[in-house]
């Protein structure tokens, strides 16, 4: 089953004043463009973000951070800070060492310093924590802490991290003599190499996916409240994975898990950066335990950019072997992965390079091999933290750049080259050469739609004319991506031993109103609306009659949370299944009410709602609301039927889901200044069945802006001393309304065969797919100048340098 529609409203001139033009009309039940339930509070300024949490007697914390990228700590003198009026406590690495809390486990099985004891290993690393009556006093006191550092030579260039004689960053680990973390490989090296040896054409290209930061508008922070009487610890923090945090706090701090409650309130954007536990959270907890009062810690923007999870930082060399007529036969990749000072990437245990193994992308390629080497540098830890679907961003960028490099080599049209190599619809379910089983897809259809929408042939004609007549350069870039989202299955995927399966609980009150409790956590994705719609569709009730509870570990079932686009594929599936369980319980109650056999009942949903009725006799039926009341009444139920309709489930996905899409970006480049202007961006996405198309389109819009940001603007470079050169929004440039065009969206619908409602997840698709389209467009514009590749971000300076024949290294400061 496939359906195809296009939404070109992005281009429509909005001249009428009807509400219907937004398309967001409320639906009585089920899927559709329903307005978001959560907006009522947000448009009134009544959201409740972590910094809005105010508790009686609350104190405020601030963190002293290292100015050095690599230095030995000789001494820390906090006496003046402790004596400062209003200061309640100063916590140092030594304090924490006394509690066995100076180090905490990372999500990759490494350890990370909470507060440094021996050395600092990146600029901005946490050194001391001040707790004071108010945040201004806490900041004042930071100035009074004397730290004596002995600066050490830092390792900044990842390509030098494994050099003989390179400074050893992690001398805290016994026996460590270098900066090597891991080697990981996938695919068949021998088979791949053999194809390369015989191939008619081979191409190779070095490329960097630079270090970037997701920079949600809300920074990280926490409010910790330890009750000395009950022993209960409550932590408010904007986490994407509240249950995982609770378990980790229990393991780290030795507190009993039932005495820990993690509340993730409204979250002001996460994008992956709010998955992990940061030292500030632990400091706030220790601060509360030490003072007996609630402690709030909020980082500022520079702290956010310098110390919380970065993303990417993959130095890649891609190679493709092909026939002269453009059939890709094999692909191989070598990656040097900069993981920073601590290996803190948030990814399933068996996947040290995340899901980079899907680097064969959307193409039917006979053989593939990749090897990834992870190294330490004197930079902040992180690595999987920016809507990347566990490194699929890097994989898609690699293969989509390589397809353009091959097109360049063969002098082939990049669209035709892709069309020739796309996996054909009849090949699904498709097993990739590195072992991934793609669930469903019709790739050529999506690419054709995107090319039609953008009027590809017309653009190529305009480009030819421009190239003939001079003037601003026109570039057309294509990216075709396949995502793998919705981790588990749990037998393959866990984080620190916690399997990636998620629970859902559905309570139906006597009047038929329902409360759904889920383990995933919205950071703006609209779960309170979407998940209510899933329940509504399954039970034939209004979404307004379904309350969604999330983000509170005392109130929701266990699960691994929201990242890797897993909410709809995992928790959405759990929601549909738990609603079906409720429906089946309702069948038994209805049978008792109707004095019929359950097997003789049939379920139907009409405009009046959902009801069980006797087959062939619709008038003999009961609505779900009537059944709910009866289930709580004194109605005599058959033996074995418990009464009530409530149900619980845990969903362990049988496979990932594989959304895909075809993107075309059109840019104008000024050869005199190197300035790039995105003229158009056409995005055709297939994320299976869309539960709320309005929300899906919003997710795509945001990801497309991310792509423009990463491709053109967002730069986190370091100088030779390890100074972070993108540590504020004055230096780390994010796309504004001026850089973004009006997005043009199209869609195809290929349902996932194994997801209960056929949905696939979409949160990260556009962030994954769009950077390559922008970069390919810019490089397409520069092609007459003989430029085959330049690294992101393609700033005016970088583009101009590329036009002069010397593209710059974007990870290091130009000195």
């Amino acid at each position: 089953m496939t359906a195809e529609t296009t939404d070109t409203t992005a281009n429509a001139t909005d001249t009428t004043a009807t509400d219907t033009e937004t398309g967001a009309t409320a639906t009585p039940m089920g899927f559709g463009r329903m307005h978001r339930k959560e907006d009522a509070r947000f448009i009134r300024g009544r959201g409740n973000y972590v910094d809005d949490v105010r508790l009686p007697g609350m104190l405020h914390g601030a963190i002293l951070r290292s100015p050095h990228a690599h230095a030995r700590i000789l001494s820390v003198d906090a006496s003046a800070a402790e004596a400062h009026p209003g200061v309640k406590a100063v916590i140092t690495g030594e304090t924490l060492a006394g509690m066995d809390l100076a180090w905490m486990p990372t999500l990759s099985g490494d350890v990370q310093a909470v507060l440094a004891t021996d050395k600092v290993r990146f600029q901005g690393q946490e050194v001391a924590f001040v707790v004071a009556e108010d945040p201004y006093t806490a900041r004042d006191a930071l100035e009074l802490i004397e730290v004596d550092y002995e600066p050490l030579e830092p390792v900044i260039d990842a390509r030098r991290a494994l050099d003989e004689g390179a400074p050893v960053i992690r001398d805290d680990v016994e026996g460590r003599t270098g900066n090597h973390i891991f080697d990981w490989e996938a695919g068949d090296r021998e088979q791949t190499d053999a194809i390369f040896e015989r191939a008619e054409v081979t191409v190779a290209q070095d490329m960097l996916y630079p270090r970037v930061h997701p920079a949600p508008l809300e920074t990280c922070g926490a409010v910790a409240d330890f009750d000395r009487v009950t022993g209960k610890l409550t932590v408010w923090c904007p986490t994407q994975a509240p249950h995982a945090h609770r378990t980790l706090y229990a393991l780290v701090a030795g507190l009993p898990e039932h005495k820990i409650r993690v509340i993730s309130p409204d979250v002001g954007g996460g994008f992956g950066g709010k998955v992990g536990i940061y030292p500030g959270y632990v400091c706030a907890i220790v601060g509360s335990i030490a003072t007996g009062r609630p402690v709030k810690w909020m980082e500022d923007r520079s702290e956010n950019l310098m110390s919380t999870a970065f993303a990417r930082d993959y130095h890649m060399r891609g190679e493709i072997a092909a026939t002269r007529d453009g059939k890709v036969l094999a692909i191989r990749v070598k990656v040097l992965a900069d993981h920073g000072a601590f290996n803190g990437t948030a990814q399933p245990t068996k996947f040290p390079a995340g899901f980079f193994g899907v680097f064969t992308g959307s193409y039917d390629i006979r053989a593939a091999h990749c090897e990834v080497t992870g190294v330490h540098t004197n930079k902040a830890p992180g690595g999987v933290a920016y809507a990347c679907s566990f490194r699929i961003t890097e994989a898609v960028y690699l293969v989509e750049r390589m397809m353009d490099v091959l097109a360049c080599e063969l002098d082939a049209d990049p669209a035709e080259l892709r069309m020739k190599n796309l996996i054909r619809p009849e090949r699904f379910p498709y097993t990739s050469p590195t072992g991934w089983e793609y669930d469903s897809g019709d790739y050529p259809r999506a690419l054709r739609l995107a090319l039609d929408m953008v009027e590809y042939d017309k653009l190529r004609a305009e480009q030819a004319e421009r190239r003939r007549d001079g003037g601003p350069l026109l570039g057309i870039g294509i990216s075709f991506f396949t995502e793998a989202v919705g981790a588990g299955p749990r037998k393959h995927m866990d984080i620190l031993g916690l399997g990636m399966a998620d629970g859902a609980e559905l309570r139906v009150h006597p009047t038929g109103k329902a409360v759904l409790r889920v383990s995933c956590q919205s950071q703006g994705q609209g779960h309170e609306t979407t998940f209510a719609q899933i329940v509504a569709a399954e039970l034939g009730v209004s979404p307004d009659d379904v309350e969604v509870v999330h983000g509170d570990t005392d109130q929701t079932p266990f699960g691994l949370g929201t990242y890797g686009s897993r909410s709809t594929p995992v928790s959405g599936a759990a929601t549909a299944i738990v609603a079906r369980k409720v429906r089946e319980r309702a069948r038994l109650v209805a049978a008792a009410m109707l004095e019929a056999s359950p097997d003789d009942l049939e379920w139907s949903v009409s405009e009046a709602g959902g009801r069980w009725s006797v087959q062939g006799s619709a008038e003999h039926g009961r609505t779900i609301q009537e059944i709910a009341m009866a289930a709580h009444s004194n109605l005599e139920l058959p033996e074995g039927v418990e009464g009530h309709l409530d149900a619980v489930t845990v969903y362990n996905p049988p496979n990932l889901t594989y959304p895909f899409g075809a993107y075309v970006c059109v840019v104008d480049v000024d050869p005199g200044t190197g300035q790039v202007k995105v003229r158009r961006f056409v995005a055709v996405d297939d994320c299976g069945v869309r539960i709320n198309p309005m929300i899906v389109e919003g997710q795509i819009h945001g990801g497309l802006a991310d792509g423009i940001g990463m491709a053109l603007m967002q730069l986190m470079a370091f100088d030779e001393d390890g100074n972070h050169l993108g540590a504020s929004f004055m230096d780390y440039l994010l796309p504004t309304s001026m850089e973004c065009p009006s997005w043009e969206l199209g869609e195809t619908v290929t349902p996932s065969p194994h997801h209960p409602v056929g949905a696939k997840g979409v949160g990260e698709s556009a962030t994954v797919g769009s950077p390559a389209a922008v970069v390919n467009a810019v490089l397409d514009a520069l092609r007459p100048y003989g430029v085959r590749h330049a690294d992101m971000p393609l700033t005016p300076a970088n583009v101009w340098s590329a036009l002069q024949g010397t593209p710059i290294r974007t990870d290091l400061a130009v000195t």
Partner: protein, 180 residues
């Protein structure tokens, strides 16, 4: 220092530290947490409020600078239980996701519509270009402001007709001059 600031029509008098930022005065002093803080450097605009009707980034203004002035925050947009057209537009057009930039975006949009009741897309993009949204890609923010403009125009049209009979010639559809 003792200051008196009128916030959303309500005068507040109190002692503040001279260095206290306006955003902290509003959030921590008055409990108006709808105004957010996002960057320190006047780049993100999550903290935008109106001071005497003009959008100001409250992370870069001191509370004492507002002594004797009128401040409007997101909490002041709704009047007598009626949402502002801009608030309705953001909900209608999915102009928000995480909601963190939304108060600042809406206040800038309100300012724009007070001066230009029929802004085109380019004008809207320019007006919010000093503010960041990490979720929406700006598309639906533009649509939300256009929605608000159209609905205010429609309401003003209806209002003008109604008022024509009573001889009330005041311009409808704009709140400029009405002040908090």
């Amino acid at each position: 220092m003792q200051i008196t600031v009128t916030v959303n029509g309500q005068p507040y008098t109190g002692d503040v530290e001279p260095r206290l930022l306006l955003v902290h005065f509003l959030r921590d002093g008055l409990g108006l947490t709808g105004t957010h803080w996002g960057c320190d450097t006047s780049n993100c605009g999550a903290c935008v409020v109106h001071v005497d009707g003009t959008p100001v980034k409250s992370c870069t203004a001191l509370a004492v600078m507002c002594d004797g002035h009128e401040v409007t925050t997101v909490e002041g947009l709704e009047r007598d239980g009626d949402l502002d057209a801009v608030q309705k537009g953001f909900a209608e057009c999915h102009g928000l996701q995480c909601g963190f930039c939304t108060p600042g975006m809406m206040l800038t949009a309100r300012w724009l519509l007070d001066r230009d009741p029929d802004p085109d897309e380019a004008r809207i993009r320019e007006a919010v270009s000093g503010q960041l949204c990490r979720c929406t890609g700006y598309e639906n923010i533009v649509r939300a402001v256009r929605w608000a403009a159209r609905h205010e125009a429609a309401r003003a049209g209806a209002g003008t007709e109604a008022r024509a009979g009573t001889g009330d010639g005041a311009a409808g559809g704009t709140r400029e001059g009405t002040g908090p």
